[in-house]
Subunit: 324 residues, 2 copies
C-alpha cells in the first residue's frame, strides 16, 4: 500500500522535497519550548496526503507555482494547529486512562502552539497577498470548528440522524481536503469556476475518507486504531446510525443504552458491533462510500489527461481502498 502512495507522488516528488524544506523554515521561532514542540511535530508527521492533494490539484488545473508551496505550507500549519487543539485532554482521554498532571500542563502548551501555528499560516499568506487562499482556509477553519462542536454536542445526546452525521463529517473532515483542492486550484491560477469544482471534488473525497475511517471501527483495518473505540467514545457513525434506524423500538433503546451507559465494557462494545454487522450496517455504509467515490471520479474525468490526473485518480482510489 505504501508503495502505491510512492507511485502517486511520482509527478511531484521534487516539489514534495522542496516543500518539506520550506515548511521547516516557516515554523522557526526564538522561543525554545515552542521550537521544540515544532520539531517534534515535524518529525512525527504522517503520509503527507494534504500537500499531495494541493500539488496534484495545482498540476491538474494549470501548473504548480510559488503560491502552491505557500498554500501547502498554510494547510499544513493549519492542520497541525487543529491536531494540537484536538489533543487537548478531554473526558474521553480520562475514561481511557491517558491522563496525568503532566497532560494538563501539555494542554496549555498544545492550545498555545496551535494558535501560534495558525498565526504563522495567516502571516505567510498575508505577507504574500494570497488573499484567495486565505479565504478558502478561513472558511475551512470556521467549518471545521463548527463540525467538531456539533459532534461534541451530539456526543452527549446520541440523537443523531444520517443527515446530522453527514453534516458533521462534511464540516469536520471533508472541509480540510476540500480546502487542499481549492488552494491547489487557486494557486495554479485556475478560474473561480474550476476552483469551486475542485472544492466539490475534495469534499466528496473527504467524506469518502471519513466513512472509510469510521468503518475501521468495525474491524476492517489492518493496523491502526483499535476496534470499537468510536463506540467507547459514544461517537455515532454511519454503520450504527443506519442499523439503529432500521431496528424496532425496544432493541433500539437497548443498544442506545449500551452505548450511553456501558460502553466502557468490552463485551458490551462487542454486542453493539455484532448488532451493526447483523443489520447490514457495514454493507450499507460501503455502498454510500462508493457513491461518493464515483462522484469524485466523475469530476476528475472532465480534466485533460496528464500524469497529475493519473496520480489524483490513484489517490482517490487509495482513499477508499487503504486498510490503515
Amino acid at each position: 500500500m505504501s508503495n502505491s502512495l510512492e507511485k502517486i507522488q511520482q509527478p511531484i516528488v521534487q516539489e514534495m522535497v522542496e516543500f518539506e524544506k520550506k515548511f521547516r523554515n516557516s515554523v522557526k521561532t526564538d522561543v525554545w519550548l515552542l521550537d521544540n514542540i515544532m520539531n517534534y511535530i515535524i518529525e512525527g508527521k504522517g503520509k503527507q496526503m494534504r500537500p499531495m492533494f494541493v500539488f496534484l490539484t495545482a498540476g491538474i488545473c494549470e501548473h504548480i507555482t510559488e503560491a502552491t508551496y505557500r498554500g501547502a505550507a498554510m494547510i499544513e500549519l493549519l492542520h497541525t494547529a487543529t491536531l494540537l487543539h484536538d489533543d487537548v485532554v478531554d473526558d474521553a482521554h480520562y475514561r481511557r486512562g491517558f491522563f496525568s498532571i503532566n497532560a494538563l500542563w501539555k494542554n496549555k502548551a498544545s492550545v498555545l502552539s496551535g494558535d501560534f501555528l495558525l498565526a504563522k499560516g495567516l502571516l505567510l499568506s498575508i505577507d504574500n497577498n494570497d488573499f484567495e487562499l486565505l479565504r478558502i482556509m478561513s472558511t475551512a477553519v470556521r467549518d471545521m470548528s463548527e463540525g467538531e462542536i456539533l459532534q461534541l454536542q451530539k456526543s452527549r445526546t446520541l440523537d443523531i440522524t444520517e443527515e446530522v452525521y453527514f453534516e458533521i463529517i462534511r464540516r469536520k473532515t471533508a472541509t480540510l481536503i476540500a480546502a487542499c483542492c481549492g488552494v491547489g486550484a487557486s494557486s495554479s491560477g485556475a478560474s473561480a469556476e474550476i476552483v469551486q469544482k475542485m472544492i466539490r471534488f475534495g469534499e466528496k473525497i473527504g467524506i469518502a475518507f471519513q466513512i472509510k475511517d469510521d468503518l475501521f471501527d468495525y474491524g476492517t483495518a489492518e493496523i491502526g486504531k483499535p476496534v470499537g473505540i468510536d463506540i467507547k467514545e459514544k461517537k455515532m457513525t454511519l454503520p450504527l446510525i443506519y442499523a439503529l434506524n432500521k431496528t424496532e423500538k425496544s432493541k433500539k433503546r437497548h443498544i442506545i443504552n449500551l452505548v450511553k451507559n456501558e460502553s466502557e465494557k468490552p463485551q458490551k462494545v462487542a454486542e453493539v458491533i455484532d448488532f451493526v454487522k447483523k443489520s447490514g450496517g457495514i454493507e450499507y455504509t460501503m455502498e454510500i462510500m462508493q457513491q461518493y467515490y464515483r462522484e469524485a471520479e466523475e469530476i476528475l474525468a472532465d480534466f485533460p489527461d496528464s500524469a497529475y490526473k493519473v496520480s489524483l485518480q490513484n489517490l482517490v482510489k487509495y482513499t477508499i481502498e487503504r486498510n490503515k
Copy 2:
C-alpha cells in the same frame, strides 16, 4: 471610577452602542451549543476597553469609518478566542481545585469555540478586503501565543530576568492593546507612519496596564483577584524579580524555594509578599509603570486637540490609576 470610564466613552457613545449590535450579529451560528457559548460570552463581557481604544484612536488620527467597526469586532473576536483558549484547564487549575470531569468536557468546547471565533474574525476582514487590519491582528496572535508559551516555559524554571519579564508582557498583553490602536489608526485611513506610532503608543500603555495588574497581586486592588495568586501559580512578576535581584544569594535561594515548593501555603505566600515589600519592589515597579505612562503621554501630545484626544488621555490615566 466607573464614572470616569463613562466620561471617557462620551465622544464615542453612539459608536459603542452600534458596535455592540453589529458584534452580536457577527457571531451567529446554526450550531446550538456554539450559539449558547457565544451568548454566554457576550453577556459576561467587561469594561469594553478594547473597542474604546479602537474607536478613540480612529478618532484621534482621522475619523471613524465602517472599517473601524469591523476592526473593533475583529479584535473582540480574537480577544474572546484567546480568553477561551486561556480557560483550558491546566495544572494551576488543578492545584487550585477548580477541577472536574465536566471541566475536561468544557476544555474541548473552549478550544473549539475559540477556533471558531478566530475564523469568524478572519472572514470578517477577508470578506471586506481589510488586509492591513488582518496583518496587524495576525501579528498580534503570533506574538501573544509566543509570549504565553515563553511564560509557560519560564514558569517551570523560575530563572527569569527583568528582560524576560518585559519580553513576556510585551508579547502577551501589550500586543493586544497595540493591535487595538494600530487597527483604529489604520481603519481611519491614517498613514503607515501614524499607524506605527499608534502601535508604539498602545504597546506602552499595554505594558503599563500589565504592570498595574501585577501590582494588584501585592494587595493594591480594591476588589478583583485575591492577593498572592501569581505567587501561588509561580508566575514571576516585576516586584518579585526586582526584589530577588537585589538580595544576597542565600535569601534569594530561600525565597525561590518558597515559590517553587511551598506556594500552596498561605503563610509562605505572605512571607514572599512581605519580602518584596521590604525590598522596595513595589516602589520600583510603580516608577517603571510611570515611565511607560509618560512615554505614552508624549506620543499623544503630538496629535491635534480633540474630544478623542482628551478621552484617550483619560483612558491612559485610568490604566495606571484604576484600582480594580
